[in-house]
Symmetry: C2
Subunit: 332 residues, 2 copies
Amino acid sequence: MVTIKDVAKLAGVSPSTVSRALSGKVPVDGETKKKVMEAVEALNYKPNVLAKGLKEGRTNTIGLVLPNIQNPIFPYVARGVEDVARQNGYTVILCNTDESKDIELDYINKLKNRWVDGFIFATAVRDATHILDLKDEGVPVVLLVRNIDNKVDAVIIDNFKAAYEGTCYLIELGYKSIAFINGNPELSLYRERLAGYKSALKENNIPIDDRLIVQNVEKMEEAYNVTSALLDGGIMPDAIFAASDPKAYGAMGALRDKNINIPNDIALMGFDDLDTSKYMNPSLTSISQPCYKMGTAAMLRLIELIEGKDVKPKVDTFDAHIVKRDSTKRNE
Amino acid sequence: MVTIKDVAKLAGVSPSTVSRALSGKVPVDGETKKKVMEAVEALNYKPNVLAKGLKEGRTNTIGLVLPNIQNPIFPYVARGVEDVARQNGYTVILCNTDESKDIELDYINKLKNRWVDGFIFATAVRDATHILDLKDEGVPVVLLVRNIDNKVDAVIIDNFKAAYEGTCYLIELGYKSIAFINGNPELSLYRERLAGYKSALKENNIPIDDRLIVQNVEKMEEAYNVTSALLDGGIMPDAIFAASDPKAYGAMGALRDKNINIPNDIALMGFDDLDTSKYMNPSLTSISQPCYKMGTAAMLRLIELIEGKDVKPKVDTFDAHIVKRDSTKRNE
DNA sequence: CTGAAAGCGCTTACAG
DNA sequence: CTGAAAGCGCTTACAG
């Protein structure tokens, strides 16, 4: 491997000078700089990032901790993070934790020591003391998609508002018996979506029927099963609001297999607006969450924190909006 | 930050001994070891990975280079890679390149120098000299999903065979005019799928109609558009074989909007068997590719290469199989 | 503007 | 089995 010493020798200067010429942080004679650059070019010298990191105490690397990249919103989030990272000379370490605090702690312990300049967490569950501890130790941390409280920087949407507006939209269309298929209530985002749904019903004087609310549904298959079970139990809502698009897809499958027409028999609305939703049959009404954008915002914020700018925590709330499609269309 | 010196001081031994006690590679007195471990515990010491890496010339980190994590097969691939990586003490750097050779080279240059012990590439296009060069320099490299030739280790499926069998299945069902929506022919996997399709037609004495073959379709929206255009052009196949599930989804949208019934008017088959395909309306017949499994295999192989075991290149070919669903069902 | 020296935190031959 | 020393490849005060 070619080192700074090799460059120095070829350029006829000291390693210190090579380092300075390359960093640009310190004045170097024009002629000297030129010789150095030529030597760098000739030898195809790339500085050893480990040595640099060891000396400087930073690595230009961040840890992106998320539950599971297979959950379809996370690729978008991850891509946003990575694009901004790359543009700013950062590198991203991908950490899937399956919501396991142990795996999360493993990663934190592994990456904390000089490995990583900061963390983005999209994993915050209720018991997030380890994340708060990390922040207290002075490690730059940004939360993404999932919030804890307002003591840590976060990039999120207003889940309450989005679900509230979604529910109001269904009510405006004339749907009155609206089922709600929710995710894990340990996650504040799902608690908030449920609260938004309930609030919209209340405001429109529609009684809340607990039999219409199913919690803790994560995978498509579970959504398929709970939807089937709901209908088998003799409960026939006129609309279903699924708290994520994959849950809506599962519900769609169940309705398909029971020959229940969407939207004529039961309308369906999702949450996420995944790419596929537009091409479903019927096309799925959903609430669009700017995942990619949020990923970029989180990374930009993390860079600010790493650079010590504006360290007072702030929560950046993005807008979600309803994308109206055929799965909620009212027959005229 | 607590260093090996702090531990040494507390345990009353030299840093060398702490290092030895921790590595386990060298005999250390039982009593001494115990003292060291207690000090490590008490101080919550974690070795600095940069210093270790600088000294040892390895980092237990690998680069996973893929076109775009938003392409739905890659989250599964990435998860497979990461799971095996974590189980073996490795860490994964995520690199999205959008098929750009420049970005790929950027990443290679950045990660090559001591940063990373090896690479997994799922990006190989025709002009992959930079990957071959990397391998020639002695850097451990495994190709995933996309192959170049047999000079580099690879984990793939037999795309020719899979597409051949898929096409035969459609022919057996009685479909005779089968359109083929293909991806970028720069990628060998798409060339092979097309060849498999053609070969099946030939063997069954069905003439190849170039008007039924659309190349270079990547996104769902493009698939939607080319399918619409095909039908608008007055061409009415009785089946469509899409070379990936997202392309099938786009086609499904187009058929939906033209009120063409699947499978009665036109049957549809995809390739990938994404989670969502089962829940489409109608459920989508597809060819299942074991993406997660392939990711794990690639990482296991890369670890072998890093450890210098069995360095003779080998190509590991996984089985793909048809998942039969309603989108190709023949009316009885 | 430039060089020699120290040091980042480890590991590992070298002695003993 | 254990310690002192050297060195991995950089950067940056310290002198000049």
